[in-house]
Protein backbone atom coordinates (compact mmCIF):
# COMPACT_ATOMS: atom_id res chain seq x y z
CA UNK A 1 0.00 0.00 0.00
CA UNK A 2 1.43 3.34 -1.03
CA UNK A 3 -1.00 5.70 0.58
CA UNK A 4 0.23 9.28 0.74
CA UNK A 5 -0.54 10.71 4.12
CA UNK A 6 -2.85 13.72 4.01
CA UNK A 7 -1.14 16.82 5.40
CA UNK A 8 -1.97 17.51 9.04
CA UNK A 9 -3.59 20.91 8.92
CA UNK A 10 -5.73 21.99 11.86
CA UNK A 11 -9.38 22.39 10.84
CA UNK A 12 -10.58 25.98 10.85
CA UNK A 13 -13.60 26.47 13.10
CA UNK A 14 -16.88 26.40 11.14
CA UNK A 15 -18.25 29.79 10.27
CA UNK A 16 -21.31 31.23 12.00
CA UNK A 17 -23.31 30.81 8.83
CA UNK A 18 -22.30 27.17 8.48
CA UNK A 19 -23.33 26.44 12.04
CA UNK A 20 -26.63 28.20 11.58
CA UNK A 21 -27.29 26.18 8.42
CA UNK A 22 -26.47 22.97 10.21
CA UNK A 23 -28.79 23.90 13.07
CA UNK A 24 -31.62 24.72 10.71
CA UNK A 25 -31.17 21.47 8.85
CA UNK A 26 -31.21 19.60 12.12
CA UNK A 27 -34.49 21.29 13.03
CA UNK A 28 -36.04 20.41 9.68
CA UNK A 29 -34.94 16.81 10.07
CA UNK A 30 -36.54 16.66 13.49
CA UNK A 31 -39.69 18.15 11.99
CA UNK A 32 -39.87 15.62 9.18
CA UNK A 33 -39.19 12.80 11.62
CA UNK A 34 -42.11 14.05 13.67
CA UNK A 35 -44.25 14.25 10.54
CA UNK A 36 -43.47 10.75 9.34
CA UNK A 37 -43.90 9.28 12.81
CA UNK A 38 -47.19 11.12 13.22
CA UNK A 39 -48.36 9.68 9.93
CA UNK A 40 -47.15 6.27 11.03
CA UNK A 41 -49.19 6.53 14.20
CA UNK A 42 -52.22 7.25 12.05
CA UNK A 43 -51.48 3.83 10.61
CA UNK A 44 -52.53 2.48 13.98
CA UNK A 45 -55.88 4.28 13.82
CA UNK A 46 -57.53 1.35 12.09
CA UNK A 47 -56.81 -0.67 15.21
CA UNK A 48 -58.97 1.75 17.17
CA UNK A 49 -61.70 1.28 14.59
CA UNK A 50 -61.18 -2.46 14.73
CA UNK A 51 -64.09 -2.64 17.13
CA UNK A 52 -66.35 -2.34 14.11
CA UNK A 53 -65.72 -5.93 13.17
CA UNK A 54 -65.30 -6.75 9.53
CA UNK A 55 -65.78 -10.19 8.09
CA UNK A 56 -62.44 -11.62 6.92
CA UNK A 57 -62.01 -14.07 4.05
CA UNK A 58 -62.35 -17.75 4.97
CA UNK A 59 -59.35 -19.27 6.72
CA UNK A 60 -58.30 -15.94 8.23
CA UNK A 61 -56.22 -16.10 11.38
CA UNK A 62 -57.55 -14.43 14.52
CA UNK A 63 -57.70 -10.68 14.00
CA UNK A 64 -54.40 -9.66 15.58
CA UNK A 65 -52.44 -12.40 13.86
CA UNK A 66 -54.27 -11.68 10.64
CA UNK A 67 -53.31 -8.00 10.67
CA UNK A 68 -49.72 -8.95 11.49
CA UNK A 69 -49.34 -11.48 8.72
CA UNK A 70 -51.33 -9.93 5.86
CA UNK A 71 -48.95 -8.41 3.29
CA UNK A 72 -51.77 -6.46 1.59
CA UNK A 73 -51.19 -7.74 -1.92
CA UNK A 74 -54.78 -8.59 -2.81
CA UNK A 75 -54.08 -11.99 -4.35
CA UNK A 76 -57.14 -13.27 -2.48
CA UNK A 77 -59.16 -10.55 -4.21
CA UNK A 78 -57.94 -11.69 -7.59
CA UNK A 79 -58.89 -15.35 -7.33
CA UNK A 80 -62.40 -14.89 -5.94
CA UNK A 81 -64.93 -15.81 -8.65
CA UNK A 82 -67.67 -13.61 -7.17
CA UNK A 83 -65.32 -10.83 -6.05
CA UNK A 84 -66.57 -11.01 -2.49
CA UNK A 85 -63.23 -9.83 -1.11
CA UNK A 86 -62.41 -6.13 -1.05
CA UNK A 87 -59.35 -4.28 0.18
CA UNK A 88 -59.89 -1.78 2.97
CA UNK A 89 -59.40 1.93 2.39
CA UNK A 90 -58.43 4.53 4.99
CA UNK A 91 -61.94 4.91 6.36
CA UNK A 92 -63.00 1.28 6.29
CA UNK A 93 -62.17 0.76 9.91
CA UNK A 94 -59.48 -1.76 9.18
CA UNK A 95 -55.86 -1.50 8.11
CA UNK A 96 -55.29 -0.03 4.65
CA UNK A 97 -55.05 -2.71 1.98
CA UNK A 98 -56.30 -5.54 4.20
CA UNK A 99 -59.03 -7.76 2.72
CA UNK A 100 -62.57 -7.95 4.10
CA UNK A 101 -65.96 -9.14 2.98
CA UNK A 102 -69.09 -6.99 3.01
CA UNK A 103 -71.52 -9.89 3.08
CA UNK A 104 -74.66 -7.83 2.46
CA UNK A 105 -73.17 -6.53 -0.82
CA UNK A 106 -71.39 -9.69 -1.91
CA UNK A 107 -71.02 -12.73 0.29
CA UNK A 108 -68.65 -15.64 -0.20
CA UNK A 109 -70.75 -18.46 -1.66
CA UNK A 110 -67.81 -20.85 -2.06
CA UNK A 111 -68.44 -21.03 -5.80
CA UNK A 112 -64.70 -21.58 -6.20
CA UNK A 113 -65.30 -24.97 -4.49
CA UNK A 114 -61.86 -25.01 -2.88
CA UNK A 115 -61.43 -21.78 -0.92
CA UNK A 116 -59.03 -20.39 -3.51
CA UNK A 117 -58.27 -17.29 -1.46
CA UNK A 118 -56.46 -19.44 1.09
CA UNK A 119 -54.46 -21.06 -1.66
CA UNK A 120 -53.54 -17.64 -3.04
CA UNK A 121 -52.34 -16.16 0.25
CA UNK A 122 -48.52 -15.95 0.20
CA UNK A 123 -47.95 -15.22 3.88
CA UNK A 124 -50.26 -17.59 5.72
CA UNK A 125 -52.70 -14.89 6.82
CA UNK A 126 -55.35 -17.19 5.36
CA UNK A 127 -54.69 -20.83 6.16
CA UNK A 128 -56.31 -24.22 5.74
CA UNK A 129 -54.79 -25.30 9.00
CA UNK A 130 -53.40 -23.01 11.67
CA UNK A 131 -49.78 -23.51 12.72
CA UNK A 132 -49.52 -25.21 16.09
CA UNK A 133 -48.35 -22.17 18.04
CA UNK A 134 -51.50 -20.23 17.28
CA UNK A 135 -54.36 -21.13 19.57
CA UNK A 136 -57.89 -21.87 18.43
CA UNK A 137 -60.65 -19.91 20.15
CA UNK A 138 -63.32 -22.05 21.77
CA UNK A 139 -66.24 -22.45 19.42
CA UNK A 140 -64.30 -21.19 16.42
CA UNK A 141 -63.34 -24.70 15.39
CA UNK A 142 -65.87 -26.46 13.20
CA UNK A 143 -67.01 -29.83 14.56
CA UNK A 144 -66.56 -31.37 11.12
CA UNK A 145 -65.30 -30.24 7.72
CA UNK A 146 -68.24 -28.37 6.20
CA UNK A 147 -70.07 -30.19 3.43
CA UNK A 148 -70.70 -27.97 0.42
CA UNK A 149 -74.21 -28.60 -0.90
CA UNK A 150 -72.99 -27.95 -4.44
CA UNK A 151 -70.35 -30.66 -4.08
CA UNK A 152 -72.55 -33.16 -2.28
CA UNK A 153 -72.46 -35.60 -5.18
CA UNK A 154 -68.68 -35.23 -5.68
CA UNK A 155 -66.31 -37.86 -4.28
CA UNK A 156 -64.97 -35.19 -1.94
CA UNK A 157 -67.90 -33.08 -0.78
CA UNK A 158 -66.19 -31.15 2.01
CA UNK A 159 -64.51 -27.77 2.13
CA UNK A 160 -60.99 -27.63 3.49
CA UNK A 161 -61.87 -25.24 6.27
CA UNK A 162 -61.17 -25.82 9.94
CA UNK A 163 -62.56 -22.70 11.58
CA UNK A 164 -65.57 -20.49 11.07
CA UNK A 165 -65.18 -16.80 10.17
CA UNK A 166 -68.38 -15.84 11.95
CA UNK A 167 -71.85 -17.06 12.84
CA UNK A 168 -75.20 -16.08 11.30
CA UNK A 169 -77.76 -14.60 13.67
CA UNK A 170 -81.42 -13.71 13.18
CA UNK A 171 -81.39 -10.07 14.24
CA UNK A 172 -84.89 -8.94 13.26
CA UNK A 173 -87.25 -11.90 13.68
CA UNK A 174 -90.24 -9.54 13.65
CA UNK A 175 -89.52 -8.64 10.01
CA UNK A 176 -88.56 -12.14 8.83
CA UNK A 177 -90.88 -13.31 6.04
CA UNK A 178 -90.56 -16.97 7.08
CA UNK A 179 -91.66 -16.22 10.62
CA UNK A 180 -94.60 -14.21 9.32
CA UNK A 181 -95.46 -17.08 7.02
CA UNK A 182 -95.09 -14.83 3.96
CA UNK A 183 -93.81 -15.85 0.57
CA UNK A 184 -91.51 -14.03 -1.80
CA UNK A 185 -91.83 -13.29 -5.48
CA UNK A 186 -89.48 -11.44 -7.82
CA UNK A 187 -85.88 -10.28 -7.75
CA UNK A 188 -84.28 -10.54 -4.38
CA UNK A 189 -82.75 -7.15 -3.49
CA UNK A 190 -84.17 -5.51 -6.62
CA UNK A 191 -83.09 -5.19 -10.25
CA UNK A 192 -80.01 -3.04 -9.63
CA UNK A 193 -78.39 -5.32 -7.06
CA UNK A 194 -74.88 -6.27 -8.19
CA UNK A 195 -74.39 -9.34 -5.98
CA UNK A 196 -73.65 -12.64 -7.68
CA UNK A 197 -74.01 -16.30 -6.84
CA UNK A 198 -73.43 -19.67 -8.36
CA UNK A 199 -76.66 -21.56 -9.10
CA UNK A 200 -75.96 -25.22 -9.64
CA UNK A 201 -78.99 -25.68 -11.87
CA UNK A 202 -77.79 -22.78 -14.09
CA UNK A 203 -74.03 -23.30 -14.30
CA UNK A 204 -71.74 -24.81 -11.76
CA UNK A 205 -68.69 -22.87 -12.96
CA UNK A 206 -70.16 -19.49 -13.73
CA UNK A 207 -71.79 -17.36 -11.03
CA UNK A 208 -74.62 -15.14 -12.27
CA UNK A 209 -76.22 -11.98 -10.96
CA UNK A 210 -78.84 -12.60 -8.29
CA UNK A 211 -81.06 -10.12 -10.10
CA UNK A 212 -80.99 -12.46 -13.11
CA UNK A 213 -82.47 -15.22 -10.98
CA UNK A 214 -85.95 -14.23 -9.75
CA UNK A 215 -87.83 -16.39 -7.25
CA UNK A 216 -91.43 -17.34 -6.70
CA UNK A 217 -91.78 -18.85 -3.24
CA UNK A 218 -95.03 -19.56 -1.41
CA UNK A 219 -93.13 -19.40 1.87
CA UNK A 220 -89.83 -17.56 2.04
CA UNK A 221 -86.93 -19.84 2.90
CA UNK A 222 -84.22 -18.03 0.92
CA UNK A 223 -81.61 -18.10 3.69
CA UNK A 224 -82.01 -21.86 4.03
CA UNK A 225 -82.40 -22.55 0.32
CA UNK A 226 -79.28 -20.64 -0.74
CA UNK A 227 -77.03 -21.48 2.20
CA UNK A 228 -74.03 -23.21 0.58
CA UNK A 229 -73.20 -25.34 3.61
CA UNK A 230 -75.13 -28.48 4.49
CA UNK A 231 -76.96 -28.40 7.78
CA UNK A 232 -75.96 -24.86 8.71
CA UNK A 233 -79.48 -23.43 8.79
CA UNK A 234 -83.01 -24.83 8.56
CA UNK A 235 -86.61 -23.78 8.97
CA UNK A 236 -87.85 -25.20 12.26
CA UNK A 237 -91.12 -25.02 14.12
CA UNK A 238 -90.51 -23.02 17.24
CA UNK A 239 -92.65 -21.70 20.07
CA UNK A 240 -93.18 -17.97 20.20
CA UNK A 241 -93.02 -16.21 23.60
CA UNK A 242 -96.83 -16.26 23.72
CA UNK A 243 -96.81 -20.04 23.36
CA UNK A 244 -98.04 -20.14 19.77
CA UNK A 245 -96.26 -22.29 17.22
CA UNK A 246 -94.54 -20.68 14.24
CA UNK A 247 -91.81 -21.35 11.69
CA UNK A 248 -88.41 -19.74 11.94
CA UNK A 249 -84.93 -20.03 10.42
CA UNK A 250 -82.59 -21.61 12.97
CA UNK A 251 -78.78 -21.50 12.65
CA UNK A 252 -76.87 -24.68 13.49
CA UNK A 253 -73.31 -25.53 14.42
CA UNK A 254 -71.98 -26.17 10.86
CA UNK A 255 -72.50 -22.45 10.02
CA UNK A 256 -69.14 -21.11 8.80
CA UNK A 257 -70.20 -17.47 8.63
CA UNK A 258 -69.96 -17.05 4.86
CA UNK A 259 -72.77 -14.49 4.81
CA UNK A 260 -74.88 -15.77 1.90
CA UNK A 261 -78.00 -15.63 4.12
CA UNK A 262 -77.24 -12.00 4.87
CA UNK A 263 -76.86 -11.20 1.18
CA UNK A 264 -79.95 -13.10 0.05
CA UNK A 265 -82.41 -11.87 2.71
CA UNK A 266 -84.99 -9.88 0.72
CA UNK A 267 -86.06 -7.67 3.63
CA UNK A 268 -84.50 -4.20 4.02
CA UNK A 269 -82.59 -4.00 6.24
CA UNK A 270 -81.66 -7.62 6.42
CA UNK A 271 -83.20 -9.85 9.11
CA UNK A 272 -80.18 -12.13 9.37
CA UNK A 273 -76.55 -11.05 9.65
CA UNK A 274 -73.21 -12.73 10.13
CA UNK A 275 -71.45 -11.68 13.30
CA UNK A 276 -67.84 -11.50 12.14
CA UNK A 277 -65.36 -13.51 14.21
CA UNK A 278 -68.21 -14.78 16.41
CA UNK A 279 -67.83 -18.30 17.81
CA UNK A 280 -70.43 -21.02 18.21
CA UNK A 281 -72.04 -20.93 21.66
CA UNK A 282 -74.25 -23.82 22.64
Amino acid sequence: MSEPKPPDTPKPPPSRERMQQARRRWLRTVLLTGGVMGAALSGFLPLVYARTKRLRPPGALDEKDFLASCIKCGQCVQVCPVQAIKLADLVDGVAVGVPYIDAREQACDFSCDAVQCILACPTGALVYKKPAFLGVRKGAKLAAAPILKAKEKDPEPTLNLGERIGVARLTRPEACLAIQGKGFKGQVRGPSFKGRMRYMEVNRWKPIGISEHPYDLAECDLCVRECPVKGAISIETVFAPDGSKRKSPVVHEPCVGCGVCEMICPVEPTCIVVDAREVWNT
Binding site: T33, F44, K72, G74, Q75, D89, G97, P122
Partner: protein, 326 residues
Protein backbone atom coordinates in the same frame (compact mmCIF):
# COMPACT_ATOMS: atom_id res chain seq x y z
CA UNK B 1 -10.19 -4.45 -5.75
CA UNK B 2 -7.28 -2.19 -4.88
CA UNK B 3 -7.07 -0.75 -1.36
CA UNK B 4 -8.34 2.68 -2.48
CA UNK B 5 -11.48 1.23 -3.98
CA UNK B 6 -11.92 -1.15 -1.07
CA UNK B 7 -11.87 1.74 1.37
CA UNK B 8 -14.33 3.62 -0.79
CA UNK B 9 -16.58 0.54 -0.95
CA UNK B 10 -16.97 0.53 2.84
CA UNK B 11 -17.16 4.34 3.00
CA UNK B 12 -20.06 4.24 0.57
CA UNK B 13 -21.93 1.73 2.72
CA UNK B 14 -21.62 4.13 5.65
CA UNK B 15 -22.75 6.95 3.34
CA UNK B 16 -25.83 4.93 2.43
CA UNK B 17 -26.75 4.71 6.12
CA UNK B 18 -26.50 8.49 6.34
CA UNK B 19 -22.92 9.55 6.89
CA UNK B 20 -21.78 12.60 4.93
CA UNK B 21 -19.55 11.83 1.96
CA UNK B 22 -16.06 12.99 2.84
CA UNK B 23 -12.87 13.76 0.99
CA UNK B 24 -10.98 10.51 0.42
CA UNK B 25 -8.08 9.81 2.77
CA UNK B 26 -5.98 8.20 0.08
CA UNK B 27 -5.88 8.40 -3.70
CA UNK B 28 -4.08 6.10 -6.10
CA UNK B 29 -0.97 7.50 -7.77
CA UNK B 30 -2.39 7.35 -11.27
CA UNK B 31 -5.53 9.20 -10.18
CA UNK B 32 -3.42 11.81 -8.42
CA UNK B 33 -1.52 12.41 -11.61
CA UNK B 34 -4.74 12.98 -13.49
CA UNK B 35 -6.02 15.35 -10.81
CA UNK B 36 -2.82 17.36 -11.13
CA UNK B 37 -3.00 17.35 -14.93
CA UNK B 38 -6.60 18.54 -14.81
CA UNK B 39 -5.64 21.56 -12.77
CA UNK B 40 -3.57 22.63 -15.74
CA UNK B 41 -6.47 22.38 -18.19
CA UNK B 42 -7.23 25.49 -20.16
CA UNK B 43 -10.19 27.22 -18.50
CA UNK B 44 -11.51 28.68 -21.72
CA UNK B 45 -11.59 25.30 -23.38
CA UNK B 46 -13.53 23.97 -20.40
CA UNK B 47 -16.01 26.83 -20.53
CA UNK B 48 -16.54 26.31 -24.23
CA UNK B 49 -17.20 22.63 -23.63
CA UNK B 50 -19.67 23.45 -20.85
CA UNK B 51 -21.50 25.90 -23.09
CA UNK B 52 -21.62 23.38 -25.92
CA UNK B 53 -23.13 20.87 -23.54
CA UNK B 54 -25.78 23.31 -22.37
CA UNK B 55 -26.82 23.97 -25.93
CA UNK B 56 -26.67 20.35 -26.98
CA UNK B 57 -29.85 18.35 -27.32
CA UNK B 58 -30.80 16.59 -24.10
CA UNK B 59 -30.55 12.83 -24.21
CA UNK B 60 -33.24 10.77 -22.47
CA UNK B 61 -32.24 7.30 -23.55
CA UNK B 62 -32.05 5.65 -20.15
CA UNK B 63 -34.86 7.69 -18.67
CA UNK B 64 -37.21 6.62 -21.46
CA UNK B 65 -36.19 2.98 -21.16
CA UNK B 66 -36.67 3.13 -17.43
CA UNK B 67 -40.08 4.77 -17.62
CA UNK B 68 -41.15 2.19 -20.16
CA UNK B 69 -40.05 -0.65 -17.89
CA UNK B 70 -41.65 0.93 -14.82
CA UNK B 71 -44.97 1.57 -16.53
CA UNK B 72 -44.96 -1.86 -18.19
CA UNK B 73 -44.23 -3.62 -14.90
CA UNK B 74 -47.04 -1.84 -13.10
CA UNK B 75 -49.48 -2.27 -15.96
CA UNK B 76 -48.70 -5.96 -16.04
CA UNK B 77 -50.13 -6.16 -12.52
CA UNK B 78 -53.17 -4.14 -13.55
CA UNK B 79 -53.91 -6.05 -16.73
CA UNK B 80 -53.34 -9.42 -15.09
CA UNK B 81 -56.25 -8.61 -12.81
CA UNK B 82 -58.50 -6.67 -15.19
CA UNK B 83 -58.33 -9.13 -18.05
CA UNK B 84 -57.71 -12.15 -15.83
CA UNK B 85 -54.63 -13.20 -17.81
CA UNK B 86 -52.82 -14.30 -14.64
CA UNK B 87 -49.29 -13.35 -15.62
CA UNK B 88 -48.47 -11.23 -12.62
CA UNK B 89 -51.09 -11.62 -9.90
CA UNK B 90 -51.06 -9.58 -6.73
CA UNK B 91 -49.50 -6.21 -6.02
CA UNK B 92 -45.96 -4.94 -5.54
CA UNK B 93 -45.93 -6.12 -1.92
CA UNK B 94 -46.44 -9.72 -2.96
CA UNK B 95 -47.33 -11.37 -6.23
CA UNK B 96 -47.06 -14.40 -8.41
CA UNK B 97 -45.29 -14.30 -11.74
CA UNK B 98 -46.85 -17.12 -13.77
CA UNK B 99 -47.51 -18.88 -10.52
CA UNK B 100 -44.10 -18.28 -8.97
CA UNK B 101 -44.03 -16.34 -5.71
CA UNK B 102 -42.45 -12.89 -5.58
CA UNK B 103 -42.49 -10.99 -2.29
CA UNK B 104 -41.19 -7.50 -1.66
CA UNK B 105 -38.25 -7.68 0.73
CA UNK B 106 -39.32 -4.84 2.98
CA UNK B 107 -42.95 -5.97 3.17
CA UNK B 108 -41.78 -9.53 3.91
CA UNK B 109 -39.51 -8.23 6.63
CA UNK B 110 -42.37 -6.28 8.21
CA UNK B 111 -44.63 -9.34 8.15
CA UNK B 112 -41.93 -11.61 9.58
CA UNK B 113 -41.21 -9.17 12.40
CA UNK B 114 -44.88 -8.62 13.17
CA UNK B 115 -46.15 -12.16 12.80
CA UNK B 116 -43.01 -13.96 14.00
CA UNK B 117 -43.91 -16.95 11.90
CA UNK B 118 -42.56 -17.68 8.44
CA UNK B 119 -44.23 -20.02 5.99
CA UNK B 120 -42.56 -21.68 3.03
CA UNK B 121 -44.21 -19.50 0.38
CA UNK B 122 -42.92 -16.41 2.14
CA UNK B 123 -39.38 -17.79 2.10
CA UNK B 124 -39.60 -18.78 -1.57
CA UNK B 125 -41.01 -15.41 -2.62
CA UNK B 126 -38.56 -13.39 -0.58
CA UNK B 127 -35.60 -15.47 -1.72
CA UNK B 128 -36.57 -15.10 -5.36
CA UNK B 129 -36.90 -11.33 -5.10
CA UNK B 130 -33.65 -11.12 -3.17
CA UNK B 131 -31.76 -12.95 -5.90
CA UNK B 132 -33.56 -10.96 -8.59
CA UNK B 133 -32.48 -7.58 -7.22
CA UNK B 134 -29.08 -8.89 -6.23
CA UNK B 135 -28.55 -9.55 -9.92
CA UNK B 136 -30.32 -6.43 -11.16
CA UNK B 137 -28.73 -3.86 -8.87
CA UNK B 138 -30.52 -3.49 -5.53
CA UNK B 139 -32.04 -0.03 -5.55
CA UNK B 140 -32.79 -0.38 -9.24
CA UNK B 141 -36.11 -1.56 -7.74
CA UNK B 142 -36.72 2.07 -6.76
CA UNK B 143 -36.14 3.71 -10.10
CA UNK B 144 -37.19 0.91 -12.45
CA UNK B 145 -40.29 -0.45 -10.67
CA UNK B 146 -41.58 1.65 -7.77
CA UNK B 147 -44.62 3.64 -8.95
CA UNK B 148 -44.04 6.33 -6.33
CA UNK B 149 -40.62 6.98 -7.84
CA UNK B 150 -42.23 7.93 -11.13
CA UNK B 151 -44.81 10.35 -9.73
CA UNK B 152 -42.13 11.77 -7.45
CA UNK B 153 -39.94 12.33 -10.51
CA UNK B 154 -42.72 14.39 -12.07
CA UNK B 155 -43.23 16.28 -8.82
CA UNK B 156 -39.50 16.90 -8.75
CA UNK B 157 -39.73 18.58 -12.15
CA UNK B 158 -42.32 20.98 -10.76
CA UNK B 159 -40.18 21.53 -7.69
CA UNK B 160 -37.09 22.32 -9.78
CA UNK B 161 -39.11 24.72 -11.93
CA UNK B 162 -40.30 26.54 -8.81
CA UNK B 163 -36.76 26.62 -7.49
CA UNK B 164 -35.57 28.16 -10.76
CA UNK B 165 -38.30 30.78 -10.44
CA UNK B 166 -37.06 31.36 -6.88
CA UNK B 167 -40.51 30.57 -5.49
CA UNK B 168 -39.34 27.73 -3.28
CA UNK B 169 -36.03 26.44 -1.97
CA UNK B 170 -35.01 22.85 -1.38
CA UNK B 171 -34.85 22.19 2.33
CA UNK B 172 -32.39 19.36 2.66
CA UNK B 173 -32.25 17.17 5.71
CA UNK B 174 -30.08 14.76 7.58
CA UNK B 175 -29.96 11.51 5.63
CA UNK B 176 -29.51 9.48 8.79
CA UNK B 177 -33.25 9.98 9.14
CA UNK B 178 -33.88 7.15 6.67
CA UNK B 179 -31.87 4.71 8.75
CA UNK B 180 -33.75 5.88 11.80
CA UNK B 181 -37.10 5.37 10.06
CA UNK B 182 -36.03 1.87 8.98
CA UNK B 183 -35.22 0.99 12.59
CA UNK B 184 -38.35 2.61 14.00
CA UNK B 185 -40.68 0.78 11.61
CA UNK B 186 -38.90 -2.53 12.20
CA UNK B 187 -39.16 -2.08 15.97
CA UNK B 188 -42.81 -1.01 15.69
CA UNK B 189 -43.65 -4.12 13.70
CA UNK B 190 -41.83 -6.34 16.14
CA UNK B 191 -43.25 -4.72 19.26
CA UNK B 192 -46.86 -4.12 18.20
CA UNK B 193 -47.33 -7.09 15.90
CA UNK B 194 -48.81 -4.74 13.34
CA UNK B 195 -47.21 -3.87 10.00
CA UNK B 196 -47.67 -0.15 10.42
CA UNK B 197 -45.30 0.85 7.62
CA UNK B 198 -47.44 -1.01 5.12
CA UNK B 199 -50.35 1.24 6.05
CA UNK B 200 -48.47 4.37 5.01
CA UNK B 201 -46.12 3.07 2.32
CA UNK B 202 -46.84 5.12 -0.82
CA UNK B 203 -45.38 2.29 -2.90
CA UNK B 204 -47.98 -0.17 -1.63
CA UNK B 205 -50.82 2.35 -1.71
CA UNK B 206 -50.08 3.38 -5.30
CA UNK B 207 -49.55 -0.17 -6.48
CA UNK B 208 -52.89 -1.28 -5.01
CA UNK B 209 -54.63 1.82 -6.37
CA UNK B 210 -53.39 0.99 -9.87
CA UNK B 211 -54.70 -2.56 -9.61
CA UNK B 212 -57.78 -2.46 -7.40
CA UNK B 213 -58.87 1.12 -7.99
CA UNK B 214 -58.20 4.41 -6.22
CA UNK B 215 -59.00 5.04 -2.58
CA UNK B 216 -58.72 7.73 0.05
CA UNK B 217 -55.28 6.42 0.99
CA UNK B 218 -54.05 8.25 -2.11
CA UNK B 219 -54.51 11.47 -0.13
CA UNK B 220 -51.45 10.52 1.90
CA UNK B 221 -49.45 10.03 -1.30
CA UNK B 222 -50.68 13.39 -2.51
CA UNK B 223 -49.63 15.01 0.75
CA UNK B 224 -46.13 13.58 0.32
CA UNK B 225 -45.93 14.92 -3.22
CA UNK B 226 -47.09 18.38 -2.14
CA UNK B 227 -44.43 18.34 0.56
CA UNK B 228 -41.82 17.42 -2.02
CA UNK B 229 -42.92 20.07 -4.53
CA UNK B 230 -43.02 22.99 -2.12
CA UNK B 231 -40.65 22.09 0.63
CA UNK B 232 -38.03 19.43 0.11
CA UNK B 233 -36.86 17.80 -3.10
CA UNK B 234 -37.64 14.07 -3.25
CA UNK B 235 -37.93 14.03 0.55
CA UNK B 236 -39.68 10.66 0.89
CA UNK B 237 -37.20 8.69 -1.23
CA UNK B 238 -34.19 10.55 0.14
CA UNK B 239 -34.89 10.82 3.83
CA UNK B 240 -37.68 8.46 4.83
CA UNK B 241 -38.38 5.37 2.76
CA UNK B 242 -37.13 2.18 4.44
CA UNK B 243 -37.77 0.18 1.26
CA UNK B 244 -34.94 2.07 -0.42
CA UNK B 245 -32.55 1.19 2.36
CA UNK B 246 -33.56 -2.48 2.30
CA UNK B 247 -32.87 -2.71 -1.42
CA UNK B 248 -29.75 -0.59 -0.96
CA UNK B 249 -28.34 -3.26 1.32
CA UNK B 250 -29.03 -5.85 -1.38
CA UNK B 251 -27.29 -3.56 -3.87
CA UNK B 252 -24.05 -3.65 -1.86
CA UNK B 253 -23.39 -7.03 -3.40
CA UNK B 254 -24.83 -6.37 -6.84
CA UNK B 255 -22.66 -6.51 -9.96
CA UNK B 256 -24.82 -3.96 -11.80
CA UNK B 257 -23.72 -0.39 -11.11
CA UNK B 258 -22.73 2.89 -12.69
CA UNK B 259 -19.04 3.26 -13.37
CA UNK B 260 -17.18 6.56 -13.33
CA UNK B 261 -14.16 7.23 -15.50
CA UNK B 262 -12.01 10.04 -14.16
CA UNK B 263 -9.95 10.78 -17.24
CA UNK B 264 -12.67 12.04 -19.55
CA UNK B 265 -14.71 13.87 -16.87
CA UNK B 266 -15.06 17.67 -17.15
CA UNK B 267 -16.33 18.02 -13.57
CA UNK B 268 -19.23 20.21 -14.64
CA UNK B 269 -21.34 18.54 -11.98
CA UNK B 270 -24.48 18.16 -14.12
CA UNK B 271 -24.79 14.54 -13.02
CA UNK B 272 -25.03 15.61 -9.39
CA UNK B 273 -27.77 18.07 -10.24
CA UNK B 274 -30.08 15.43 -11.72
CA UNK B 275 -29.25 12.71 -9.19
CA UNK B 276 -31.72 11.52 -6.54
CA UNK B 277 -28.81 10.51 -4.32
CA UNK B 278 -25.98 12.95 -5.17
CA UNK B 279 -23.91 11.74 -2.22
CA UNK B 280 -23.01 8.65 -4.26
CA UNK B 281 -21.59 10.91 -6.97
CA UNK B 282 -19.23 12.78 -4.65
CA UNK B 283 -16.47 11.04 -6.56
CA UNK B 284 -17.04 13.27 -9.61
CA UNK B 285 -16.08 16.38 -7.63
CA UNK B 286 -12.67 17.70 -8.68
CA UNK B 287 -9.92 15.89 -6.84
CA UNK B 288 -12.16 13.35 -5.15
CA UNK B 289 -11.86 10.26 -7.34
CA UNK B 290 -9.67 7.69 -5.60
CA UNK B 291 -8.86 5.84 -8.80
CA UNK B 292 -9.11 6.23 -12.55
CA UNK B 293 -12.28 4.15 -12.56
CA UNK B 294 -14.65 4.25 -9.62
CA UNK B 295 -17.82 2.18 -9.26
CA UNK B 296 -20.73 4.16 -7.78
CA UNK B 297 -21.91 3.08 -4.31
CA UNK B 298 -24.89 0.93 -3.23
CA UNK B 299 -27.29 3.81 -2.53
CA UNK B 300 -27.35 4.56 -6.27
CA UNK B 301 -30.72 3.69 -7.81
CA UNK B 302 -29.17 2.89 -11.20
CA UNK B 303 -31.69 5.24 -12.80
CA UNK B 304 -29.28 6.34 -15.51
CA UNK B 305 -30.12 10.06 -15.35
CA UNK B 306 -26.41 10.82 -14.87
CA UNK B 307 -25.52 8.56 -17.78
CA UNK B 308 -27.95 10.49 -19.97
CA UNK B 309 -26.71 13.87 -18.86
CA UNK B 310 -22.96 13.25 -18.93
CA UNK B 311 -21.57 14.96 -22.04
CA UNK B 312 -18.33 13.01 -22.06
CA UNK B 313 -19.54 9.50 -21.43
CA UNK B 314 -17.63 9.33 -18.17
CA UNK B 315 -20.56 7.64 -16.44
CA UNK B 316 -21.75 4.35 -17.87
CA UNK B 317 -23.71 1.29 -16.84
CA UNK B 318 -21.36 -1.50 -15.90
CA UNK B 319 -21.66 -5.11 -14.89
CA UNK B 320 -18.85 -6.12 -12.59
CA UNK B 321 -16.63 -8.75 -14.15
CA UNK B 322 -18.55 -8.79 -17.42
CA UNK B 323 -16.04 -6.65 -19.31
CA UNK B 324 -13.27 -8.98 -18.17
CA UNK B 325 -15.24 -11.97 -19.35
CA UNK B 326 -15.95 -10.55 -22.77
Amino acid sequence: MNPFLKRRFFDQIAVMFGREAKKPAAISERAQEIHVLKRATNKEALQAATLAHENAKKVHKWRNRRWAVLIAANLMFTFSFWFDIQILEGALTASRFVGFHLIDLNAALQVMLAHKHIIVNLVIGTGTVFVLWLVLGGRSFCSWVCPYHLVAEWAEKIHLYLVKKKLVTDQNMDRRLRTLSWIVFAVLALATGYTVFEAISPTGILSRALIYGPGLALLWVLALLVFEVFFSRRAWCRYACPIGLTYGVVGIFSPVRIKYKLESCFHEGDCRKVCLVPHVLDTVIKGRAVDTEVPIGPDCTRCGLCVDTCPTGSLTFDVKGLSKLL
